[in-house]
Amino acid sequence: MSYEHSSSGRRDGRKSYEIRGFRCELGYLERADGSCKLEQGKTQVVAAVYGHLEARGRTELPDRTFIEVSIRPCQGYTSDYLRLRERELEEVFIATVATELQPRSCVAIILQIVENDGSLMSAMINAGMLALLSAGIPCHWIATSCTVSYRRTEGFLLDPILVEEAEGYATAVTSYSFQGQESDPSQNLIGLSFRGFVCSQDIYFQSLAYSREACKKVFEFIRLVVEKSQALDCGYAEP
């Protein structure tokens, strides 16, 4: 890739194409069927999954599972802005969950924002995915996400913090799906949302390529977390 990254460091010392470190705790909530607390730098999200539940009324679909996503902010009520983000998350998770396996059922995904230090949508998608895996909900693939912030002088930055997002003139959230080590994520772009406008198509597609590599790192992290949690479960099952 021929993109020249900025030589001047970011506030936290990262390069423009580097993402922050991840910390995750599966099974964070005891009462939920699946849950996860994800820390992406200082951004913290707690995700809970309940399902499969019995569907009633408008949630009963004859041919597939109904997926419901709720976002709870740090304080106050869910604003119109978060309602739109709920819709975007629903589209990603409806594509991810194998909804055709259990029709007339419902899966509820609740995302609680604990702290927002940028790249919140990506953190919610990654946390929701981990919570679905924790609950054992069958999925077609693993969904991962990365945020890109576009800057006038430095091109673009991956996984921006809150200040970097505000300083940028446009922000994109991309979600890729992975079905294994050998899968080609460039064929599986399952989520794409935008705020603002990018000045060039070349910069836009370059940023997609970089965010795809970042999503691959997220996939490796998720795989590692799931493998370790399975190893722990097997350890407890042995006499």
Binding site: L84, A95, Q187, L189, F194, G196, V198
Partner: protein, 287 residues
Amino acid sequence: MQHSLGWDIWNILQPKELYKGFLQRGIRPNGRKLSEYRKIHLRKGPLVTTVDGSASASIGQTVALVGIQPKVVEWKEINKGPVKSIVGNFCSVQVEFPAICHRDMRSGRTSEEALLVKESLENVLEEILVGDAFCIVADKFYWYLQITAYCISFDGNAMETFLLALYGALLDLKLPVLHPNSSGDRLVIDQSQPKVALLMKKVEDWPWVIPVGIFSDSGSEHYFVLDLSEEEENNVSCIVCVWNNQAGNKVALSKLKFGSLSERILQQVLPLVKAHTEEMIARLQHD
């Protein structure tokens, strides 16, 4: 004796299969080609007497009405937060899809379609409006635009219709010339001068949106369909909203619905919409 089911029954039983059969022949069920638009109509002018700028736009059966009402606000009412944005400080957008526009719409809580259109219009306004144009008396009085958009009838492609109506209303908007009075605490309309248009960026730089429906046939074949009707929006696997201007330096892509995309398809979509973008910007300049 053999009986074949009519196409309307197939449309109920297997709508996507019926739609695929038409797309494979390069045509849609209503006879339009895949890249052909329905009739586009824009009417600018004093549609409503209570606003200073208004326009009505229609693409096929989808009709949107936008009215802009300017008000004068004092500097202390302007939010001087860390990020100085135009929307929120100098204008507000309200979009409604009332029950009259479609059988599935309900009065009361703002629908998601309305929120989606509202967010898109706000992004556009941030791009085309100039913050200094709202100043009447520095640090004292500023213009504040209340933009209200209604959907009169909904039959798909709401975003492009609303954008056309918004642009028409902004081009129609005329503001009176105001001067402070002798004591400086009030503004007086200068009746001797004609109303002036709001200063904005050049029309050639305004971004345009084209929602492109992508119908995938088990991952091998893809059909790109422009100007989707409401029924077609339910049949396609995903919709990509392509934003661009004439110069090609205001690019944004967003995806709706559940189907997956590939980057190769995204690169195919961009040149597809170039001709229509140029046509719509030219129409705005000459209407």
